[in-house]
């Protein structure tokens, strides 16, 4: 999950001067924001500060972030002909600023903690491009998926290649692990996931596995509200499968299978509550992992802007104290 953000005063102070896209597109600033939580919180890895939507623009889909509304795409792709407009691109060229940030962050971290890179997965990226922003129903996306399945599959094939190109370039630039965010794919049931998503997401993981450089780093595959499709998500790929807090960690791990690692799954809103509740909920997650290797303790989704930074610091200390023996 993104570690940096509005819950930190030093981030808010930068955001007074720069837009979210400025921060993402300026390697010095992306480096600074990536390092902010590393300086304050005893985490075991750094997460590249970037945005899922950056690949949209070089694909030919213009967007911006509107205060209070989130991302707004200029001309959402609503028809099958729109999907055919999308272009593959070379991330070394068009997302070079992200790769430069990766290089700067790697140098700054100097091996203290690993750096995690990331990209959005086909359903999640497609949903932004098609809905034009956040959605609760994904009505336009699913209407296209059901109504124009051939165009959908061609589009997602292309997205898979774009995402794989981008992740491979991130590994070449220095990230030590990559996370594939299919944040919104929990809106699909298992049958739809198998038909419309799995082949494309699997293509991303295959391309990473086939690449001589990218195959050296572990992969994480994450979604929210995916309790019913964890088995399908595992089948699509990922050394580590992320789970949100809705499904208890032991039950989620049973669905994923013991041959994969699991990441999760504290409800990020618990961090808004008092420390005793944070620690009790953490104890529950750790107990359900029962000390098995392959559990990466994490939040079940992104940190909320209203989270007190002291609570995040206390959580990191508590998890280390409980797990380092």
């Amino acid at each position: 999950m993104r570690q940096a953000g509005r819950y930190m005063a030093e981030y808010r102070s930068l955001r007074e001067r720069y837009s979210l896209l400025d921060l993402c597109r300026t390697p010095d600033l992306a480096t600074e924001v990536t390092l902010q939580p590393i300086r304050r919180i005893d985490v075991d890895a750094a997460i590249l500060f970037s945005d899922l939507l950056l690949p949209l623009e070089p694909m030919g889909i213009r967007f911006d972030f509107v205060e209070g509304e989130g991302p707004v795409v200029d001309e959402p792709l609503r028809h099958d002909a729109d999907l055919a407009r999308v272009r593959r691109f070379d991330p070394r060229d068009r997302l070079g600023y992200v790769l430069e940030a990766v290089r700067q962050i790697s140098r700054a971290l100097d091996g203290r903690v690993p750096l995690i890179g990331f990209a959005g997965a086909p359903f999640t990226l497609a949903s932004y491009a098609i809905e034009g922003g956040h959605s609760s129903s994904f009505a336009h996306t699913k209407a296209l998926m059901y109504g124009a399945p051939e165009a959908w599959h061609r589009f997602c094939d292309l997205l898979a290649d774009i995402i794989a190109d981008y992740l491979i370039a991130q590994v070449e630039a220095g990230v030590d692990a990559v996370q594939v965010f299919d944040s919104w794919v929990g809106a699909l049931n298992a049958a739809d996931y198998r038909e419309f998503i799995l082949p494309h997401t699997r293509r991303i993981f295959s391309r990473l596995a086939d690449d001589p450089v990218a195959s050296r780093v572990p992969t994480i595959h994450f979604g929210v509200g995916t309790g019913a499709i964890l088995g399908e998500i595992r089948d699509a790929g990922g050394d580590v499968i992320g789970a949100d807090w809705r499904t208890p960690l032991d039950e989620a791990w049973a669905r994923i299978g013991s041959d994969r690692a699991i990441q999760g799954n504290l409800d990020p809103t618990v961090l808004l509550g008092p420390l005793d509740r944070i620690f009790a909920a953490t104890d529950d997650v750790l107990a359900r992992a029962s000390g098995r290797p392959g559990h990466i303790f994490n939040l079940g989704h992104g940190i909320l802007p209203s989270t007190p930074v002291e609570h995040v610091q206390a959580l990191a200390r508590y998890v280390h104290q409980k797990t380092r023996g």
Copy 2:
């Protein structure tokens, strides 16, 4: 699920002249809108046209619907002291217009199909009152819940009584079944549901069971994204448990237990797609119910405004053809 709405031309035509709240608050109009889908679609029950939020105003929480934004509460309840401001009220007095609509609709239906009344459940109603509108994280609601559990429990006790009063009054006015919508409670994990929600929702179902009139009608308990907490929702009460499309119907029913009926669970976005896909997805739901008594075929959530009415008509015909033998 609400049957009426923007997918019907006759509804859109009324909405050009009246606000959503006008429609809810004027018995003649609420009656007309309730009957619109009954005239066009071969459904087995009518659903009262109303809104989950109507009880907020007599509780002392003012709100309005803002075009494109949904409900907006004037002064969201953000602190435990705010929760204590909420008042119980007599629905016969303050929501008399809903009860008058129920009486008019019952007369108009004249026993052709039963009428389903409804109310929001504590978490869902509380979330609107506390967030001030729709939310994706329920950050304010959960922060209050975790941070001020005593105030939360007092508030939800009161909400449970208000909701029970309101549902009992609906049954007295003539509804033939009641549905309790905890639409957003799927944001909680099982442990939080048991601690913060279950006692209050159980209170609603107990009060209905203890009431000489209300105990005569069946109860439905519904939420979205509740795959991981279906057992807890069942324990809170309801003759029929609703399930959305994320969990396959047979798996959901196994979690609920065979002593309860189940309602669901076609993804409403499937209705945006072509007929062959609608029928195939319907076949899957019906096959998973395997002809067992106690399955109420329904959508897994509300119908979307962009749904072609012909698709809804075809779905109702198809389900009848497949299930009436």
